[in-house]
Subunit: 320 residues, 2 copies
């Protein structure tokens, strides 16, 4: 559920009246998002998304998230676009929360990933990386390598409940990642969470990217690695080299990626798997059984990590 | 949360293709409703609500609920209208559930009830009662007087946790209601749950009625009594006779209500309070503290019931 804060009719009407988007007709609480309260806002001119930022989100990050979407949209990336009020600002108070209105992007995310999805994704990812190049704000990645040890500490003593020996395996892998993590690769704005449910398609065509609340400044190739893990493994855990090839080839047609980036892909992909494994592991162990959130199996990412440990070169990702 | 059943992109596209409502663009899970899974469905021609009926709803009742909305809409009552597929049917299977599409009614419900709201409500209620007159289907009210004793039995042994002596007070009141419950008053289709959150306004104008999942065949005056309890008491528990007068007068201008109905209002209003008190009492005592539902104070309705016990004639409801 994603409505923590109720919005009354009179407050809503007054809030929307600050914008040039017609008159508020309704606000329907929607299930999307776990951190904020989200409403589908219907006005006399169309549909929008109204978000009330709950205290879990650092308010200092809001100008980055909103400014980024505005910047990317202006560069032609299909994503929700923040609407500025008549005073020129994107954030205003509603029901005692910081709130923003963004355009409603209709779309469906693909449940059965096909190779053509991965091609579209690779192209869109590269376009987004290029479009972010001259964005003025920065935000460090607080879920990258330097945070993994403390994440692991929080779950280590119970990790073996999930799989015998997992704590030790993770400790060994983490040491290797810390030692080998690249630090000279090209950086810029990355999405950092581009799983299928954040990518809309209409038929064969990618129509939009959503949910930029993990976006940050980090290595472009790390974003590629996250996508490879999220899109190129089958339900049985096997790696689909055709999908990876489509993803990487389509990406490379838009933004050259260097031999250094290519060579770093296996370690970045192990790191990407580690990052999602660690947050899922904590949720798995410490989320109450009756909570709203569907717990995701952390071992899924452990299997992906092990695949990348065995990679010997670009040919294992479908490249020659 | 009101999304119990997920709908995949391919299933949604195929489902919507059975209807003449354009192509499916997105389905956004919405928070409304506690019994079913509800989505705001966006297509190339507009917005709709897609409902997947979960097993809690008796599927035998669905033709009544859907047929009633279609009937009322055809008679000019503003309510969500079921959309028939090309095969002429309102119900089809989706994700292994019975599912229906209704029109999206944009609207906001009033948080601060003013007398003019009650006037609009009275008029709309009477129009709905008249419009339902030639609806062919019937559905008995399974939450009326004959069900209250068994409802009370489920909570009686813990009722005193809520208020000392409540179990005995309810027992005494229930006996009086069973003895004096009218059985010769005019009957027809009633909404039976017309609280403010089920009535939309735009400015001073009532724009729609929603949520017909308690609608049934019962006394018209009982529906009026439910509305009086839901709209004419202030937050401090006091009865606002101006609001009641507006409600009853506006109702009476559209549909004559007889002296018998008027005379029965106090006992019907006590019954209406009893009905909501009993379901709330059970939820209060037996809903886990960490459940999604906001528990509502059952004693609110006990105070309303006590007000109606003291009523001596129509003048107490603002009528001369």
């Amino acid at each position: 559920m994603a409505v923590y804060t109720e919005v009354g009719d009179e407050d809503l009407i007054a809030f929307v009246a600050q914008y040039d988007i017609g008159e508020a007709l309704s606000a329907t609480g929607i299930v999307e998002g776990v951190e904020n309260s989200n409403y589908l806002l219907s006005t006399t001119v169309g549909n929008f998304i109204l978000t009330l930022y709950e205290n879990r989100v650092h308010s200092a990050d809001l100008p980055f998230f909103l400014g980024l979407k505005e910047h990317l949209a202006a560069k032609g990336i299909a994503c929700p676009v923040p609407v500025r009020a008549r005073d020129g600002k994107m954030l205003h108070k509603l029901s005692n929360r910081q709130a923003a209105i963004v355009t409603f992007l209709a779309g469906m995310w693909p449940r059965r990933i096909q190779p053509y999805h991965c091609g579209e994704l690779g192209r869109a990812l590269a376009l987004m990386h290029l479009a972010g190049n001259d964005f003025a704000l920065r935000r460090s990645n607080d879920l990258s390598v330097q945070s993994w040890r403390s994440l692991l500490c929080r779950s280590a003593d119970r990790a073996d409940e999930v799989q015998q020996g997992l704590a030790e395996d993770l400790e060994t892998e983490l040491a290797a990642l810390e030692l080998n993590w690249p630090d000279t690769l090209p950086c810029g704005i990355i999405h950092a969470d581009l799983f299928p449910d954040n990518v809309f398609f209409r038929g064969p065509e990618l129509t939009g990217l959503i949910d930029f609340y993990f976006a940050c400044t980090d290595m472009f190739a790390y974003d590629i690695a996250i996508c490879m893990n999220a899109w190129c493994f089958e339900a049985d855990g096997s790696f689909n080299v055709t999908k990876a090839k489509r993803l990487l080839t389509a990406y490379g047609r838009v933004r050259d990626f260097s031999d250094d980036e290519l060579a770093a892909l296996p370690v970045l992909a192990r790191g990407a798997a580690m990052r999602f494994l660690l947050t899922r592991l904590y949720d798995w162990l410490y989320t109450p059984a009756d909570a709203l959130v569907t717990k995701k199996d952390p071992l899924e990412h452990w299997k992906r990590l092990q695949f990348h440990q065995r990679v010997t070169g670009p040919q294992d990702y479908g490249l020659v």
